[in-house]
Structure formats: structure tokens, C-alpha cells
Amino acid sequence: MIRRALLHLLALTCAMPAAGQEISDRLGPAEAGHELVVRSTTDLSVLRPVLEDFLAAWPDVAIRYEQWLSNNLYRLTLEDCEARGAGADLVISSAVHHMVELVNRGCAYTHVSDQTLALPDALVWRDELWGVTREPAVMIYDRTRVPEEDVPRSRFDLLDLLRASDGPYAGRVATYDIEASGLGYLFAYADSLEATTFGGLMEAFGRSDTVATCCSAEIMEGVLRGDYLLAYNIIGSYALQLAEDNPELGIVAPSDYTLMLSRGAMIPQHADSPQLAATLVDYLLSDPGRAALAEAHLITDLEMLIANGAAAPSLGSSALRPVELSPKLLVASDRHKKQLFQARWRDAFPANSAKAP
């Protein structure tokens, strides 16, 4: 049962042609008069209950949901924007630096409502991009194989754990491949801005033969399978959901700081039904929408992290660092910046870069 769910997730996220969409499904009544096209990096299985809650209130609306890899979603949306074509009505991506760039290029539709005005400044830009979720970047580990005293509570603990190149964790730690995953790149970029530990961490990853690979599901599958003892910078929403059925999966919100990602939602400038898309955005930002998102682990706050043991009760809210939706994220998309960053990454993961797609 667990294995099947996981395989399903895996199939959704990794096993698809590189340039194509991962999945496309239609939600809502077949005879609905309006169809809203939503393109997202979020797993449909995670988001489905939220969307179904929305559709329950709008019986005449159906949603065609397309799930994409973040880099592909960015390319596709940019093409639509430049061709002034009506692609999606709503785009939701975890790679928010892509979204900031799309908004900066003038690809987005402006929408203001009570719900968007209630957002904190860090989670809205130009009334065109809204942060709809709150998901921590966490470390996960295998409770059955990692002794309690080894469990890293912070990045410093992780550095200590990886110090010895021939220790038990060498080759048994995984993280995102930043070249394959937009989200992985974003997390690594945000880490590089947050603290100097990132340089040491890169070195330690390189020294201990850390595996860099694509996609949350694959990494989590590896941990559950026993391939990896520990994984770094995993998106918390999926980990928390998976941990519900797999108690052996341990989750840590690093105590030095925990990145909080808000998936960015944007209505493309030339969307067919921008008003309807705006209604969906308002729903996602409303109290019922937030409750549904929290139910799907897409909104997590400090209390929830403490409640399920991912964070120590002493963790202050200042340790939660939101990834701000602002033009500063344009730097992450800069060509030279990316090249320099990836060059540094390749230096740290010489083995990985060889097999990267």
C-alpha cells in the first residue's frame, strides 16, 4: 500500500519525458461550462483535495490540471507569454525565481482583492505574484538506521556528521541535483545567501560523495528503501505527507535556520479566463483554502513543525526564513550567476555532473 503510493508519486514526478508534461487530468463535472487550465509543479495527488474543495463551491467549473517539471513549466509559460498565446489560466510553481522572472518580463495579469491585500509584503509582488503555500526545506533521515545521537538538528551537526570522508555517512546522503531541479537550485541559491555554512556544506558534500539527484520523490524513495541514510533540503510538504504513512521517516527543520518556501501563483497575461483564475487564487488565500492547503501539508507553520517533532520547542519564529517574492530573486535567474553557481556545484559533485541530464 505504502509502496504503491510511493511508486505512484515517483511515476508522477520522475518517470516522464524530459520536455513533456508529467500528467494531465480533468477535475470537476464533465458538463461544466467553464474550464480552468492550471499548470503546476505540485503533485496532483497532493493538491487534488484542495482543488476539489474549490470545485465544490463552483459547480459550473472544471479544472484541467497539468503537472510539469519546474524548468519545463518556466520555458512553456515564457513561450506562451512571448507568443501572446493563451496557455494556462493559472501557473503555480515552487521555483519562485522563475515566477519572479516571468512577472518581471510583464507576463502576468494584475489582480487585487481583500485576500491578496492581506498577504505579507514578502509574499506578494506587483499584485501579480502571490505566495500560496508555506513549506519548509527540511532534512529527512531513516529512523531505523540513524542512531538518535547522530540525528543532525542543524547544518552544523550535518557538517560534523560529514567530516570524515570514510565515515558511515559517506555516499549515504542525498540532495537535489540543482541542474535538474529548479527547486533544488532555488534552495541552494537561498542557502548561499543565508549563511556562510553553505560553502562548508558544499565541500563536505563533495568530500563525502553525497549523491545529487532529481526530485523529492526519488530521494524519499531512496531513504525509505535504505539507499540513503539522510537527505538534505527536501521540500517539507511531501516529507510530512509521506511520514504519515511511514513512521520510520524522520524529519528535521534545521534549528540554525529553516527556509520557508511559498509556491508562487501567477495568472498569465493572455489567459482565457483570468477572472476565474483570480477566483481560484482568492480561494487559495482565503481561510477555507488555507485550511485545505494545511490539510494537504502545503501550509506548515512553526507550531505544526514542533507538534510533529521536526523542530525543537525552543525554535524561534526568526529561524524560519521565507523565500521572499521580490525582484532580488532575479539574480538567481541571471545567466552568469547560474553558470558560476553550477560550476561551483560541479566542483563539489564531480561524479554527479557527469551523469546529469
Partner: protein
């Protein structure tokens, strides 16, 4: 009918001040708005241009040459600077010496002139934008030449700031306008209070009370108050003159009328024809004197009336003398009497009322003919700054008791002393009305009485 006669009340002073203040605030508002918009735009442009240049310089600083190629390690600080314009989209581009875009958007416009620092307008997508270009020059082994950094952003923050500045300026102006209006209205109210006071004082006044108003008033209103006081003074003089004329007339006429009636009765009852004829001759004589007295009374009334009521006009005193001479020739000169006329060759200009002056002169001449000693002369001459209309006879002049009463009106004795006193009174009134005086003196050759008036400078 009566409505047509009601004087028109024009727009209130308060409304006039309100209109003036509104006009000032309106015109000032337009000027301030234009100036504030221009200043706001200028200030916003200055502020945000500095942001652009700062960011571009920041980026230029982060360029290094690696393997003969410029590499930009894009600084986050540059974008932190640019994101101070919170809602503006950012465009940037780094161009090498060959015009190739190293990083950023290849569509970002380059400046038209190649300078180390350029600020210019352009469009970013469909929106207008402002750009800054900064050039950094390299002289490295692998790369020698310039690298141009172009940074731009859309104009929302600039427009917001300019609008804010203009709005604040307008708010201040509106407040100032309100304060000006308040103070103007207070000033008008306080300035007009004396006017209301004067109005109230007049409304509550006894109709016979013609004493001057004593209400204090600012200069502008004092003019009105003083004019009112002057008007009331003239009114009172007229009233007094009329009253005196009536009482004089009553007093003067009662006795002769009674005398005439008694004599007529005596004549009627006189059986002796000779004595009857003598009585009738006396009645006739009395009636003649009575007629003359009546004429003089009316003449004095007229003179006093004209003194206040008739405007003075420029005239030649010689014409007055001629007029007196001509009128007296027929009316006054007794049989065989001669009057010598003595006039200077040049004009003697005075300002006065021809009729009053003629009347005064006639009286003086009449007195001389009646009471003086021939020969009698009438003339005009200049004495210093004065013009003299004089009458001269060879006698010693009237007694001091008559001269003492000169200028007075009647006394009970006038009647018995004849009418010379009344003639002098008329002349005296005319002199006073003309800012002059009655001047008399005796010398070895006789007595001279003169009406002396201020000389007008002949044009």
C-alpha cells in the same frame, strides 16, 4: 414705485473678500500644482536615477575577467537597491566590447551616445522605463576594452512619489487657503463693526439731534463719518438760519405793520384833509422802508442759504463791482448821487458766488449812499494776497456802536437805528462764507469798508 426708488445694495464686502481669496487660492493652487508636479517629477527622477546608477555601478564592480572573458558575479545588493522601487519591473543587460550581451535581457535598449554614464528613457516590454548605463574599462591581458552595464526599471515608484509630493503640496495649499479665508473674514468683520456702530447710532438718534458722531472708526470709514458730520453741520446751519429768518421776520415786521395800521386808522379818522394827507404820506414812507427791510431779510436768507448750498466758481472781482454798479444805478442811487468806479486794469481772480458777492456789495454801497458823505466810490484792488471789494465815502463812518455789532444779526435796536446794521450783517455773512472778512478803516479823506477775499492765483 417705492421699490424703484430704494437704493441698490451691492455684493457684500464679505462676499467680495471671499471671491478675492478664492481667486488667490485658485490661481495660487494652479501655479503650486504645476510647480509641485514639476518639482515632484524632478525629485522622483533624481532619487530613482541615483538608485539606477548605484545598482549599475554595483554590477560593474562585480565584473572580473576570467580566461579573457568578462564574467559578472551578479551582486544581490544591486537588486536590493532596485527593489526599493517595490513594484517596478527591472531590466538589465551587460554588453562586452563587441556588443554581445553577456547576461541579462538582450532587448534592453543601449544609450544613443557612448559615455561613461548615461541616463535615458526607453521602453521595457510595453511599459515606459528609465535606464542608466555605466561603462567600466578593462586593460587586462586577456580583455582590453569597455564593458557596458545597463540597468533600467519601470516608472511606477517615480510616478507614485511625484504624485505624493504634489498631493502634499496641495494639501498644504488648501490648509493655507482655509486659514487665509478665516482671517480675511475675521478682519472684514472687525473692520466693518464701526460702520454698523455708526448706523446704529444714527438709527437711534433723536431727529433734532444734529451733533457730530463721536464713534471711533478706521481711516476709510472715518471719511464717511466725517462727511456725515459735515453734512449734519450744514444741515444745522440751514435750519438755524431758517429759524432765525423766521423769528427775525416776525420780530422785524410786527412793529412796522402795527405802526402802519395805526397810522392808516388815524388817517381814516382824520377829518382835516391837510393832516390826513400828511399822515398818508408818512404811511407811504413807512411802507417803502418796510418793503426795503423785507427785501433785505430775504436777501440775507438767500445769502446764508447760498453760502452752504452753492458751489463757488472762479470769477473776476471787477465783474462783481461792475454788476453792483449797474444794479445800484437804477435801484439805489438817489437823485443826482454819483458813484465813482475805480477798477484796476488787470483781472482780480477770486473764487466765489457772484450773486452773494453782488448782494453784499450792493448793501455796502447802499449804506454809503444813505448814511455816508458824498463823493462815494466803489472799487477793487489787490492788497497782498487778498482781493478787496471796497466802498469809500468822505464822511467819518458809522459810530462805534454800529461797528461793534457788525457781523451780528438783528438786534432790537436795528429797527430804530435803521437798516444799516442789517446790510452790514449780510456783507459780513458773505465774507464769512467766502473765507474772507469785512475790513474798515477811517483816515483823513473819509471812511472805507472792504470785503476782503483770498486772491486766487490766475491761471
Amino acid at each position: 414705485m417705492t421699490d424703484a426708488a430704494t437704493p441698490r445694495t451691492t455684493l457684500s464686502l464679505k462676499s467680495r473678500v471671499a471671491v478675492a481669496v478664492a481667486a488667490v487660492v485658485l490661481v495660487g493652487g494652479v501655479i503650486v500644482l504645476v510647480a509641485a508636479l514639476a518639482y515632484g517629477r524632478h525629485a522622483a527622477r533624481e532619487a530613482y536615477d541615483r538608485l539606477l546608477v548605484g545598482a549599475a555601478s554595483d554590477i560593474a564592480e562585480s565584473i572580473t575577467i576570467r580566461d579573457g572573458q568578462p564574467v559578472v558575479d551578479m551582486p544581490v545588493s544591486a537588486f536590493e537597491l532596485l527593489s526599493l522601487a517595490r513594484k517596478d519591473r527591472i531590466d538589465y543587460r551587460v554588453v562586452d566590447r563587441d556588443g554581445r550581451t553577456l547576461t541579462g535581457s538582450a532587448e534592453a535598449p543601449r544609450p544613443e551616445t557612448r559615455r561613461d554614464l548615461a541616463l535615458y528613457g526607453g521602453t521595457f516590454g510595453t511599459e515606459p522605463a528609465r535606464y542608466a548605463a555605466v561603462v567600466r574599462r578593462f586593460a587586462e591581458r586577456g580583455y582590453s576594452g569597455p564593458v557596458e552595464v545597463i540597468v533600467g526599471h519601470t516608472l511606477r515608484a517615480r510616478q507614485d512619489l511625484a504624485r505624493d509630493i504634489a498631493q502634499n503640496a496641495l494639501a498644504v495649499l488648501g490648509l493655507a487657503g482655509a486659514v487665509i479665508a478665516l482671517f480675511a473674514s475675521l478682519a472684514v468683520a472687525s473692520a466693518l463693526r464701526p460702520l454698523t456702530n455708526i448706523g446704529d447710532a444714527l438709527a437711534h438718534r433723536d431727529p433734532t439731534d444734529l451733533t457730530p458722531l463721536r464713534e471711533p472708526a478706521p481711516r476709510e470709514i472715518a471719511a464717511l463719518r466725517d462727511a456725515l458730520n459735515g453734512f449734519m453741520r450744514r444741515l444745522e446751519r440751514q435750519l438755524t438760519a431758517n429759524r432765525t429768518l423766521i423769528s427775525d421776520a416776525a420780530h422785524q415786521l410786527r412793529t412796522p405793520v402795527a405802526a402802519i395800521r395805526v397810522q392808516l386808522q388815524a388817517a381814516a379818522e382824520e377829518p382835516d384833509p391837510e393832516r390826513k394827507a400828511a399822515l398818508i404820506a408818512r404811511v407811504q414812507n413807512r411802507a417803502g422802508a418796510f418793503g426795503h427791510l423785507l427785501e433785505q431779510l430775504l436777501s440775507q436768507g438767500m445769502v446764508i442759504h447760498r453760502g452752504d448750498a452753492v458751489a463757488k466758481e472762479p470769477l473776476d472781482l471787477r465783474d462783481v463791482a461792475l454788476e453792483i454798479y449797474e444794479q445800484s444805478e437804477t435801484a439805489l442811487f438817489p437823485e443826482g448821487a454819483e458813484v465813482r468806479l475805480d477798477l484796476p486794469p488787470k483781472e482780480v481772480a477770486v473764487s466765489g458766488d457772484m450773486l452773494s458777492l453782488t448782494e453784499a456789495g450792493k448793501n455796502l454801497l447802499g449804506n454809503a449812499l444813505r448814511h455816508g458823505t458824498a463823493p462815494v466810490a466803489l472799487g477793487v484792488r489787490r492788497v497782498g494776497g487778498e482781493a478787496w471789494l471796497w466802498v469809500r465815502d468822505a464822511g467819518s463812518g458809522p459810530g462805534p456802536d454800529i461797528l461793534d455789532r457788525m457781523g451780528e444779526r438783528f438786534t432790537r435796536d436795528n429797527a430804530s437805528a435803521g437798516i444799516g446794521g442789517l446790510g452790514l450783517a449780510i456783507a459780513s455773512s458773505v465774507a464769512a462764507n467766502h473765507d474772507g472778512r469785512l475790513d474798515r478803516h477811517s483816515d483823513g479823506d473819509g471812511f472805507e469798508i472792504a470785503l476782503s477775499l483770498p486772491l486766487e492765483e490766475a491761471a
